[in-house]
């Protein structure tokens, strides 16, 4: 049950509460560049979601099997050269950035080749976006978040397993798709509006993105409210929590956030 709550919260948090684009600002380049038409935005979103899931799987596997201290593969190889105890402390996390970027760009390359060969129709619809995705921050950001939750935790029992990592990546991708599709819908209407000359193009898009981010800030505190509602005796907490989520829960969380930024 606890595990299920975790999965639900990670999914909700990645998709809407801390949306990749509107909260963490990753993937801004396609958000501005490819959000002109709805069908292109959908294609880009699907391609990112697809690649982000593969990259998350790869980075979780590499981090747990090779990079962290005491990982099976690195300690096995080091065991040939040094004693068993010394081999268990080999820490390769310093190499993580290079390994991640290499695995992302090679997986993008392979996915592109595979899709072009076996699904020509699919390749026509989103294949053109695939090379662009290598330099999409959202992918690397998902890998880094997974790494900090696998290697950065103090208690090994808190480390994320594959299920949590894949949930984060999949719903992060869905959140990215959501943001870029909403944006492209607005931009199609924006083309008909009388925008002042200097603001045409990127400038007005950014301002609209700001208002969109403001709307998504309304979800702040939903996760902690949900956690509160789901952990204790469920029926009682469910009834109690409806009110706090909407009023009291948002305030402390927001203040905490503001304080965090000021610090």
């Amino acid at each position: 049950m606890n595990y299920l709550i975790d999965i639900v919260l990670i999914a909700l948090s990645a998709a809407v509460i801390n949306n990749f684009v509107l909260y963490y600002f990753v993937g801004i380049c396609p958000f501005i560049g490819v959000s002109r038409r709805v069908d292109m935005a959908v294609g880009m979103g699907c391609a990112v979601t697809f690649v982000i899931s593969i990259a998350a799987f790869l980075s979780w596997t590499i981090t747990t099997m090779v990079l962290i201290p005491g990982a099976p593969i690195s300690s096995f190889i080091a065991g040939f050269f040094v004693s068993k105890e010394a081999a268990a402390t080999v820490d390769l996390t310093v190499l993580s950035y290079i390994v991640y970027i290499f695995s992302i760009s090679s997986s993008v390359q392979f996915v592109e080749m595979y899709v072009r060969k076996f699904f020509p129709a699919l390749y026509k619809s989103f294949g053109v976006f695939l090379p662009l995705i290598t330099t999409n921050c959202a992918i690397l950001f998902a890998c880094l978040t997974i790494m900090s939750n696998v290697a950065g935790v103090e208690n090994p029992a808190d480390a994320w397993d594959l299920g949590r990592s894949l949930t984060l990546a999949l719903f992060g991708g869905i959140g990215f798709t959501l943001a870029i599709v909403i944006m492209s819908g607005i931009r199609e209407d924006l083309d008909l509006c009388d925008v002042p000359e200097p603001f045409k193009g990127a400038a007005i898009t950014l301002v609209v993105g700001g208002i969109l981010a403001l709307a998504f800030m309304g979800f702040t505190g939903v996760d902690s409210g949900l956690r509160k509602a789901m952990t204790p005796a469920e029926e009682v907490a469910m009834e109690m929590s409806v009110e706090p989520i909407q009023t009291a829960m948002i305030e402390p969380n927001l203040q905490q956030q503001i304080r965090g930024i000021n610090d």
């Binding site: 900090s148 400038a203 930024i261």
Partner: protein, 205 residues
């Protein structure tokens, strides 16, 4: 290479006429994410400058060995190496700041600004020109970051670098230091820069 710009031209172009943020819209991820205060913005600008200069010089030295289909991979691996160095140095000497910047330091790897400069300049010209180009671009990037951070911190907290500048009666516009403020500030400043440069070049506005 007669038609390629010289070192001085490259340097000057990076600062204003081809400003990476306001003109080319490159590297927007750190521009939006770390500009809620002056200190993170300046740290980020310095890290980007270090990575950009080193990567540009190395790529420029390797430019005759690059194969067309592998060059992007070489670019990103070179950049990732220098970002790892920058990240370790920050974690060692400015631990608190590296915690604040969090994932945005490693995200320099996929900053389109650096890949774009490697592609446009360093893979075609000599190390000296590439270095001056990198210097100009990173100055322009730093200028953009500082200008956005100044607006956001001043309006959001009423001061700069933590010192109170506006009268105490100023109601802090907290939204300016939160994510939406980043989008709105950059959008408005971008419009302002467009308006100013259009007026300067004699456009009809």
């Amino acid at each position: 290479m007669a038609d390629q710009p010289t070192a001085t031209e490259r340097f000057l172009q990076g600062i204003l006429p081809e400003n990476p943020v306001y003109r080319q819209l490159l590297g927007l991820c750190p521009t939006l994410a770390v500009t809620n205060g002056m200190q993170p913005a300046i740290t980020m600008a310095c890290s980007v400058a270090f990575v950009l200069i080193c990567a540009n010089v190395v790529i420029s030295l390797l430019r005759n060995l690059l194969k067309p289909h592998l060059r992007i991979v070489i670019f990103t691996l070179t950049i990732a190496t220098f970002v790892t160095i920058a990240d370790r140095v920050l974690a060692a000497y400015l631990y608190q700041m590296s915690k604040t910047l969090g994932p945005y330091i490693p995200l320099i790897i996929v900053n389109c600004l650096i890949i774009c400069r490697c592609e446009v300049c360093a893979s075609k010209q000599s190390p000296f020109i590439a270095a001056s180009d990198a210097l100009g671009q990173s100055l322009g990037f730093g200028l953009a970051l500082v200008s956005i951070a100044a607006v956001r911190e001043l309006l959001g907290t009423g001061g700069l670098f933590g010192y109170q500048l506006l009268p105490a009666a100023w109601p802090d516009w907290v939204i300016m230091v939160l994510p939406p403020g980043a989008f709105i500030t950059l959008g408005l400043l971008l419009g302002l820069v467009n308006w100013y440069s259009a007026r300067k070049s004699g456009g009809s506005i």
